[in-house]
Each structure stands twice: as C-alpha cells, then as structure tokens.
C-alpha cells in the first residue's frame, strides 16, 4: 500500500510540475487583423460627446446582459459609451468584460468548459460552424431587422451564415453581426518612388507579375554605397501574403468541398509559390530570409526601407500617424497572376449571441448597436478620431459620408481608398475573399504548411514543387483529423 501511495505521489508531483508550465496564450478566433493591429503605434483618443446622439429603442428593464470581447482601449471606450446609452435608454444591466486578443480564446474556452457562456461574445467566420455544431450560437434571423442586414457588406453578411453543412457561403441562418470587415490591401511608399523616379502604380490596372518585378528591381538599391542593399522593392510575410499570389494565379490549397489538400503538382499553386519565393531568392527584391529574421518587413516598411507593403484596413491609422510612418503613401492592388484579377484576403470578427442566453432579444439589440450604430461607426472608422481602423460596417455610410470625409481630408487616409472598396465589393480587376481556413474545422493543415520548412524555398535551397510534394501528406493528415473532429463535434 505504501508503495502504491508513494508511486501515486511521485506521479502527482510529476504531473503537477508539468501542469504548472504555461505561457503566452492564443486567441480562439485567429482574427488576424487584431493580432496585427497591436503593432500599431498611433494613440487614439475618443471624445465621449461623439456618441451623444445614440438612440436605442426597447424596454429591457431588469434584464442582465453579459458581454465578453477583446478590444483595444479606444474600442473599449466606444463600446462602453454605447453600453451606457443602451442601459440608460432600455433599463438593461450590462456587465462588460474586455480582454486582449491573445487571452480571449482561452478565457472563452474556460467559459465553455464551465458551461458559463456570456450572452454576447466574439466569433470569427472560421469558428461559426464549430460553434453552431456545439450549440453555442443563436440564429439572429428573428432578432435583427432585415434592413440592418441588407445594409451590411454582402461579403461579411454571407460569412456569418451557416446552413449546417458549409459555413460562409451565404446560405442558412445568420449567426453574428460584424464588429468589422477588413481587407489586406497593398500599399506603396510614394517617397521611395519619387526618389527612384518611378511612376506610381495605377490602381485601375494592377501590375502583372512581370511588371511588378521590374518596378521592384528599380526600387531595390544600396542607398549608402556600402555594398549592401538597404532598400527593397517589397517585403512579404508569407503567412499573410502568400494567398494574394496563390489566388490571383487561380491556385488553391484545398479541393472544392475542402476535404483534400491539392497543392502537390497543381501548376497554378506551385508557380505562384515559386514566384513568391523568386522575389527573394532569384530577383532579390525583398530582404533575405536571414535579414527578415533580424528585422521584420513591417518594421522595415515603417523605417522607409520598403517600396511595397501590405496594408490592412486596421493599419491606416498608424500609417497616417507621422510619428509612426513619416512618409507619403498610397494604396494599390496586389500584382496579378494568370487570372488577371488582383486578389487578397478579407477578414472579420463578429458579435454573436449565446444560444443559452436568457435575454436573447436584449442581447441582439445590443450587438445591433455595436455593429451598426452610425455614431459608433463614425468613431471607429476615424471620422471623429482622425485615425481610421476599420471600414464602416454600414454600406450607405461607407460609400457616402465616409468616402466624402476622406476626400475632404477629415479622415486622414492614403491615396486611392477605392482599392479597399474594390477588394470588399469585388470588381473585374479586384477580388477579396475569406481564405480557405475559414471553411475547415481548424487551421492545422495550414500550420503544417507553415511548419514544414517553407523557408528553404525562399532561400532557393528547395523548389516550390519539391516543398509542396513533401508537405502535402502532413497537411492532408491534419485536414483528415479536422474532418474527424468536426464529425465528433456534430454527434
């Protein structure tokens, strides 16, 4: 008995010690834009009076609503002000819990495990299916006016629909209202173009890949004459930028029903990935892999070393802040491959209502306010703060006042804001889309691509074709596992 006890104790010690290790946490929803948002240096102040005109209808006296989201300080101020108006006018009590995007996922997981879900919480398009299958999301069709939904961008309203089979294809019930809809456009540093005597890109006609390489070569120079390149045509972080090359070339990671990884031997994919790598290892118009590990592309862009760099809608506030980015800049399209259409990724996070909420009507009213209140949107899109962090969710306002305020300088913005609208709405030259991880149960198959050693392709030590051939089995195994997990969740 003593031996058994001591064995148990040793086992307990070992597991206890193991359990004690922990560290930085991750968000459940990838919410890529929010992760990157935190690199922004602009300080944004929100004036309380900006929200004076908010009107809410409804009597929810005595009803308790618990809200749990992640937000930055200025967003928190906006939402808190909206909550104050909501409680004053409807009589509801709102508990507002805010965390960081890094900690959000784990805290929400804890609430799920403890069966103590908040009434209102964030969900990304990629997590809609899983959350609906697990019984966490309330369909909003009966709670939100059709007029409100019709005035949202079509892309984002579709993204939060789920018909029980495939999420994000515009079919089925609506499960969330967007906190935002972002897009990952391309920007150029006008000062670098001027210094090199190169004409600015034409947003009406995005470059072909060949044209892009030629322009980048002109911008890649040794400025101080020490024999080392210190200004590059572009810099691309693969995990965010590769899609823009794959999709424009007609390539894709998965088959149509998202059950098979199809990159091995797919010319559209392999050629696009090879071109992406060639920008580094063949044409030398980006920092090398080594240089990129020393100082990332984002920092180099802010430091004026890069001609072209990605610009998310959330970046605009920072890029317009002269302390952060003291250069003139404009927006343009990502260069185009075989399809001739410039493509990029859109992103979003949405406000959802818990299916177990005892106050669904009040909660739905509150998220409608968060998502589509005009005054709130004026603040978040930069009209009253001078720092734009998102495109307004309300289409009428976005296309009307918002654009007019950019034109008259009230909202500081880079040149060619239409590029953003083009990606969001889609034109014959532009298209934004939700990447394929949004349509699978988890993104493990994509993590396999990232952890398989793609850097060797960027270094020129391996071809894109070889890498795709090598990494596809691991990606497929991860996807198979995701499908299995989805089935387990559905049962």
């Amino acid at each position: 008995m003593k031996k058994v006890l001591s064995l148990l104790l040793v086992a307990a010690m070992v597991i206890g010690i193991l359990a004690a290790c922990g560290g930085k946490e991750a968000a459940e929803t990838p919410a890529e834009e929010n992760k990157q948002e935190e690199t922004v240096g602009a300080k944004i102040e929100v004036k309380e009076e900006a929200l004076n005109d908010v009107k809410v209808e409804g009597d929810f006296a005595g009803q308790d609503i618990r809200v749990f989201i992640f937000a930055q300080e200025h967003e928190k101020t906006v939402y808190q002000s909206l909550i104050d108006k909501f409680t004053a006018q409807t009589g509801a009590n709102v508990t507002f819990e805010v965390t960081t995007s890094d900690e959000y996922g784990q805290k929400l997981l804890a609430y799920k495990a403890a069966e103590d879900m908040p009434d209102v919480f964030y969900v990304g398009p990629e997590a809609v299916a899983a959350n609906v299958n697990d019984g966490y999301l309330l369909p909003l069709d009966d709670y939100v006016d059709a007029a409100v939904v019709n005035n949202l961008w079509g892309t984002v309203a579709s993204a939060y629909r789920y018909d029980g089979k495939t999420a994000g294809n515009g079919q089925g019930s609506l499960y969330a209202l967007p906190k935002d809809l972002s897009t990952f456009a391309f920007a150029y540093n006008k000062d670098i173009f001027d210094a090199a005597g190169v004409a600015y890109p034409d947003p009406a006609n995005p470059y072909t890949w060949d044209e892009f390489v030629e322009v980048c070569k002109k911008l890649t120079i040794d400025k101080d004459g020490d024999g080392e390149i210190d200004q590059w045509g572009c810099a691309n972080a693969l995990q965010w930028a590769l899609d823009a090359f794959i999709y424009t070339n007609g390539g894709h990671f998965l088959n149509e029903d998202y059950t098979k990884v199809v990159i091995d031997g797919q010319p559209e994919f392999v050629d696009a990935f090879q071109f992406f790598a060639d920008l580094t290892c063949k044409y030398g118009v980006t920092p090398t892999v080594e240089q990129d590990t020393a100082l990332g592309g984002y920092q180099r862009w802010l430091d004026g070393q890069i001609g072209f760099y990605a610009c998310g809608t959330w970046d605009v506030g920072a890029f317009m802040d002269k302390n952060t980015f003291p250069y003139q800049w404009g927006l343009c399209g990502w260069p185009t491959g075989k399809t001739g259409v410039s493509m990029t990724r859109n992103g979003s996070v949405g406000f959802a209502v818990s299916k177990d909420s005892k106050v669904p009507e009040a909660a739905a009213k509150l998220i409608t306010l968060f998502s589509t209140d005009l005054e709130g949107q004026r603040v978040l899109s930069g009209e009253t703060t001078g720092a734009s962090l998102q495109i307004p969710n309300i289409m009428d306002y976005a296309k009307g006042d918002f654009k007019a305020k950019i034109a008259d300088g009230t909202i500081p913005y880079g040149d060619n804001v239409d590029v953003i609208f083009n990606y969001i709405e889609g034109t014959d030259k532009y298209r934004g889309l939700f990447v394929e991880t949004n349509y699978t149960y988890n993104a493990d198959w994509w993590s396999e691509f990232l952890s398989g050693g793609y850097e060797y392709v960027l270094k020129g030590e391996k071809t894109a074709a070889e890498y795709c051939h090598e990494v596809q089995p691991a990606m497929q195994a991860a996807l198979d596992n995701a499908i299995e997990l989805q089935k387990a969740a559905e049962n």
Partner: protein, 307 residues
Amino acid sequence: MNKKPKFKMSAMAKREERWGLIFVAAPAIGFVLFMAWPIIFAILTSLTKWNGSKGFAGMMSKYCGLDNYVKLFQDTKFWKTVLTTVIYLIGIPVGMILGLILAMGMNRKIPGVRVLRTMYYVPVISSLVAVSILWAWVYNYDYGLLNVIIKTLTGHHGPNWLGDEILIKVSMIIFMVWKGLGTSIILYLAGLQNIPRSYYEAAMVDGANGWQKFKNITLPLLSPVTFYILVTTLIGGFQVFVEVQVMTNKGGIGYSAATIVYYLYEKAFESYQLGYASAISLVLAVIVFIITALNFKVQKHWVKTID
C-alpha cells in the same frame, strides 16, 4: 473467534482525534482536489475528442477509447518534438560540469567572490520570458551581440542562429545552460562546503595530488548533489516551453526547435484538441516518470554519502 477488545475513548481523546482528522483533512482534500482529480480528469480527457465544449458531459460524449494514443504513436511531428526535447538535454551534463568547475573556483577565498556568485545567480531569479527576449536579441542575425562580436573579430557575418535547424538547437542549449548555471553553482557550493576538511588533510598526509583528491573525495561526496541536480533538471528539461515560444517563430524553421510541451500547447490552446493534448501530457508524464524511476534505481551504484 476472538473478539476485538473495545476501547472506550475519553472525551478529550475523541476531541483530539477530531482535531487530528481536521488537520489531516486539509492536505488530503487539497491532494484530492488539486492532484488526484486533475490526474483522473486528464486521463479521462485523453480518451475523448473533447474540444472544451459543454463541460464534463460534453467531454464524455466525445469518448473515443485509445484513438488519441494510437494516433500519437504514429504522429511523426510528435516524435520530432520528442527528439528535439532529448537533444536539449545535452545541456544538462554541460551545465553540471560548468557549474561544478565554477563552484570549485568560487569556493576559494578570492576577492570579489560574493559579487561573482551573485552575478551567476541573476539569470536564475530573472523572468524567463524577459531573458528569452534578451537572448533572442543576442542571437539576432544582423543586430545581435553575438554576430557583432563575430564580425568585429573575423570580418565575416555570423550565422543565422535562430534560422537554421541545427544552430537553433545549439542556441537554445547555450541559453538553457546559461539560465540554469546559477542553480548548479549554488548547490555545488553548498555541497563543497559540507565536505569536512579533515578528509582532504588525511589525503594530503597520504600524499594524494589534486586530481586524486578531486576524484576520490570531492566527486563522490558531491554525488548526492549531482543526483539532485540531475533529477530536477531532467524533469525541467522535459518541460521546456517558454524559451521556444518566445525565441522562435512557431517552433522555428521546419519546427526544428519545438519541444513536446510546445506541441502540447499548440494542440490544446491553438487547435483546441484537448483530448489529444491530454494524451501527449500523459505520455510525457510517463516518460518523465520512467526516467526519474531509472535514476533512483541506478543511483545506489554511484551516489555516495559521508555516512
């Protein structure tokens, strides 16, 4: 049949017994709540495909038997992290040898020895996250201290310490040795100061030289300390996580720096496969348990005490 004699307890004895039970109850309840139940819970979780939803009932509804374990043993990525974790253990003997050498140096009466001891101990009491960030900068390809020194001395650019599958492991080992050195030094110092001087005096009388004294007195009498350091650093070595999370980008090039616990973390908190992650944690616990048990088994052949 013999009947057990009945003892009638006095009121005071009963009261004492009650208090005794209350005192015992505190650690017993603590053990059940914070040790036994989590272990049982982890075992149960490892038999499911639970993603954290719907509490305990939700977990048990996703029962899948030993599927997670079968998958784990076929999971090449897991075995890659096991190998990397084992490679990192190379740092343990290196750290112990260095620790012993430095402790012997600091065991002498030399000026400034206290300052030296303090300096070596600073990394131990520093935040692991903070020093990991610091070392990530030391290893930085263009601006890192290490490569600046290399360039100054040789005129050539140093290597990409954190961007190469082999060098990243070397870099991590160097960091771990640096971080753990202070503890080894302090423990060895204490051990050295516990060895009676008379042993060395007797050896001197017998004509023993320095090496013989070290080999026949110092080393054997430090063996309990060595054993303690070995066991605790081995357990710690299997738990490496923070360094990898902070110093590498997603486990390093080709996942070459990722450890078992890093993989476990990714599975649990990035893709929410709590069942699979629990299976990893239990396999890890078994590995650590076996190695610790082996250490205890073998120690009687080499650990000596003054008695």
